[in-house]
Symmetry: C2
Subunit: 494 residues, 2 copies
């Protein structure tokens, strides 16, 4: 304990005209005061919270915030266990996953996922036909469009007709697989089209282009021409060229690879890092258990408890329920994001020697909604830019029109992924996507008006609150319409 | 939506011996790939969460944390209103404040606070007697000690005997007033003792010292001697010297001033800043209402709900209750701190032209418990250093012994301020103070082992959790012992 009392700034006295004289006098006074026998310990200074003190070090409050958050989390956990007991029941997971609840031995989800090989092979055959010019351009494209439309329709029809055979997770997996396939095949067809176009233009102006490119290169490069030429030839020789890519092995590698953008020569890693692989496998296995536990223990009881206030339009209670549901839902979303976009896609990438792991960017720092949508799901974002936005702009549409097109395709697939498995053809997911437009305007306004921090807060708020709102709306309709109520009971295990 | 996909770091390939050659080849490959007709968009890079990416910008998560905290707070507020309705009842405040519940017209709290003038005047009279040497040293000190002991005993005896007349807040105010007076008068007596000692030594060696100090000053100072002498004389003449301070006006200014350390010439401000004053008054008035509301609406129901789990030693439920109680309690403590140490003491200081506003330091950044105790209550801390720690060290005690003495005096007053108003002579507050010793060791260990952040977290945790624990223990004993149960019912207004 030391006498470390003298540090803060002094009260700012009113300055008079004779500043220096007054200061001299003050200094002298202070010196005289210090020599007094009463050991003075006071001196003029402001409290730290006064603006005039100039103090602004509140770093401890960040620790305070996160401590309160942790304590709040622990309390919610305890409250949950006291209220509901232990609801986690791994046996239920199997039923939910396989949809075996009705004693039926057929697994329509698995069959549908296996069936998805067919459109892939059909697509490859059409491409092969186009490349060797058995099929001409127009009929080839019509065949592709029909193939893709059938691909998207299959889950809708089968799940609608044979609804009892599907578990919620099974149906969602099917829809997810078919959506991804749709995007992947679209990319495959478009890239092969680019290659065919180049081959045609190459064969027309083959000699002229080659000599031109040679002159340009020798002008811009310092390395002796022979060496460059040699290296270039070697590099070119290592690459796969159209139409050598049109084989089953190539297309299946692409279908399994963690990307939606086809190219003929994916960057590859030299080896599989075993420790990295083991970590990702552990994350997927453990994370999946955690998500299932959170679901059974926390989300399902919360959703059920929220139903009555929501039906009655009781604003205070419904808001309270929504905020309570938001926490576990957000937690599950965060874990799901990490599992899906970091653990799972990296695992697949490592196994396939796929070198580009750009599956997400730092969306957590996004200062407006647009940046968030451009950052959180990079495979889809890159697909949208490469295969929808840029082609549309190149064809002559305005940037705005191209953005709107991307937006609507995205909205369609969100709706598809929610409505088809739930079999409630409501438009809440679509509305949720539409709500991104005013949210985007709001977040940009906040960012400009109050700084990036507030833009970021709007993004987080829309994430944390938007999702449980959509969930409640779907669940509400689900129960009201009595559609698949038995499925939910099973799922909820009440 | 721009094509801003190329930013993250690349996957670190295994370096072979021919690094430069391999790099050349890679560059060439990349160039060749880019010129391919399939518009390649992939390149080798790591995901941001992988250590090898080197990414560490998670600033958005701070916003996320505070947003979740705010939402949690709003939810708790809503839950509270839904569960308990509106409990705020200003009429109760008057009863609580004045203790008028029994219809009695006597206000023992007010009478006791007014009576506190007597020991102050007695103290001044003794000092006056000592200064004019009517009373000699030993009897004078004995009289002072008796006066101070009586001062401390008065609230204990009166509140114990006439218990029904006191409200909890009234009794607390009385104890607070008498504790502050005790510390203030201790300081007053000690400072006057210092002055008397100096006067005696001065009169013995008056001439020698004056010539010595003159020679020293002229050697060390550049300004012409005449000017210094003049300034010094002027400064000296402005100061009050012992025994000219021994008047009622001086001692009452000191008693009212926001400090516990007496000195003869307090630093003064030139004027009362009206806007500053109005702000502080508004803060005190509004803040007081907020604290009362939080108390009635949130803390009292929480404390009552926690009683049964605490009695039954039900660990899970008791912990959940404790964590739930911790939030409003901590909130009230924070508001109380601001009101007391910033608003109220600054208000008093402004009114009295008292210039030293060092009432608290940045305890929110404290990295260990010791720093926290040295920072949060500066008047007491400065009193302890100036009037207990330094004198003890000067007398010859070790620094550790002096620290222990400070600690025990502090523990005594904490116990005094809690036990006397509650009339439960338990030692929970004393134990709470004792718990600071292991906590201090823990926080210093955490600070050294894991960095200052963790020391700060221990400090916050002890603040947030320690207080509700003490409250629950006192309340528990209160109810179990059936002492003043009626008072609590009144107070809680169930």
């Amino acid at each position: 304990m030391t006498m470390d009392l003298e540090q803060e700034t002094r009260i700012r006295y009113r300055r008079t005209k004779s500043v220096s004289r007054a200061e001299d006098l003050q200094k002298e006074e202070a010196r005289v005061r210090r020599s007094q026998p009463d050991k003075p310990c006071h001196k003029p200074r402001d409290s730290l919270f006064s603006w005039s003190s100039g103090f602004n070090n509140f770093t401890g409050l960040v620790n305070w915030g996160f401590l309160l958050l942790t304590m709040g989390g622990i309390r919610l956990l305890l409250e949950n266990f006291i209220k509901y007991g232990i609801r986690v029941d791994p046996e239920q997971w199997l039923i939910v996953l396989t949809g075996r609840h009705e004693g039926g031995a057929d697994h329509p989800s698995l069959i549908l996922i296996m069936y998805s090989v067919v459109p892939v092979v059909v697509c490859l055959l059409i491409e092969k036909g186009l490349s060797v010019e058995i099929i001409s351009y127009i009929p080839g494209m019509v065949a592709h469009v029909i193939n893709l439309l059938v691909l998207v329709m299959i889950p809708m029809v089968v799940i609608h007709v044979k609804s009892s055979g599907f578990s919620l997770i099974g149906a969602t997996s099917v829809c997810m697989t078919y959506s991804i396939l749709f995007l992947k095949l679209w990319s495959y067809i478009q890239v092969n089209l680019w290659c065919r176009n180049r081959r045609q233009s190459m064969s027309k102006a083959h000699l002229r282009r080659q000599s031109l490119s040679f002159r340009r290169k020798s002008a811009s490069n310092d390395v002796p021409n022979g060496s460059v030429d040699h290296q270039e030839k070697k590099a070119e020789a290592d690459l796969v060229h159209y139409p050598d890519n049109l084989y089953l092995k190539d297309i299946f590698y692409y279908i399994l690879a963690p990307t939606l953008c086809y190219e003929l020569n994916f960057p590859r890693t030299n080896r599989i890092r075993k420790r990295f692989l083991v970590k990702r496998i552990l994350e997927v296995v453990v994370g999946f258990q955690v998500v299932m536990c959170l679901f059974q223990q926390w989300i399902i009881p919360s959703v059920k408890n929220s139903l009555i206030p929501f039906s009655n339009m009781d604003v205070a209670k419904a808001t309270e329920r929504l905020l309570k549901l938001a926490i576990p839902n957000h937690l599950v979303w965060l874990i799901f994001f990490y599992l899906m976009f970091h653990s799972f896609l990296n695992l697949v990438g490592e196994l396939l020697h796929f070198a580009d792991r750009n599956f997400y960017r730092d969306w957590w720092n996004a200062n407006n909604i647009d940046t968030f949508w451009r950052s959180w799901n990079m495979p889809v974002h890159r697909w949208a830019v490469r295969h929808l936005y840029i082609p549309l702009v190149e064809v002559g549409y305005s940037r705005t029109a191209a953005s709107v097109a991307v937006f609507f395709v995205s909205a369609f697939f969100h709706e598809y992924l929610v409505s088809v498995p739930l079999r409630t053809y409501k438009i809440w997911a679509f509305m949720g996507m539409m709500a991104q437009i005013p949210l985007s305007i709001l977040s940009k306004f906040m960012e400009k008006r109050y700084g990036p921090r507030w833009g970021n807060i709007v993004v987080w708020a829309s994430l944390i609150l938007g999702q449980p709102l959509c969930i409640m709306m779907y669940y509400h309709d689900y129960v009201i319409m009595q559609v698949g109520e038995d499925l939910l009971d099973r799922y909820g295990h009440v």
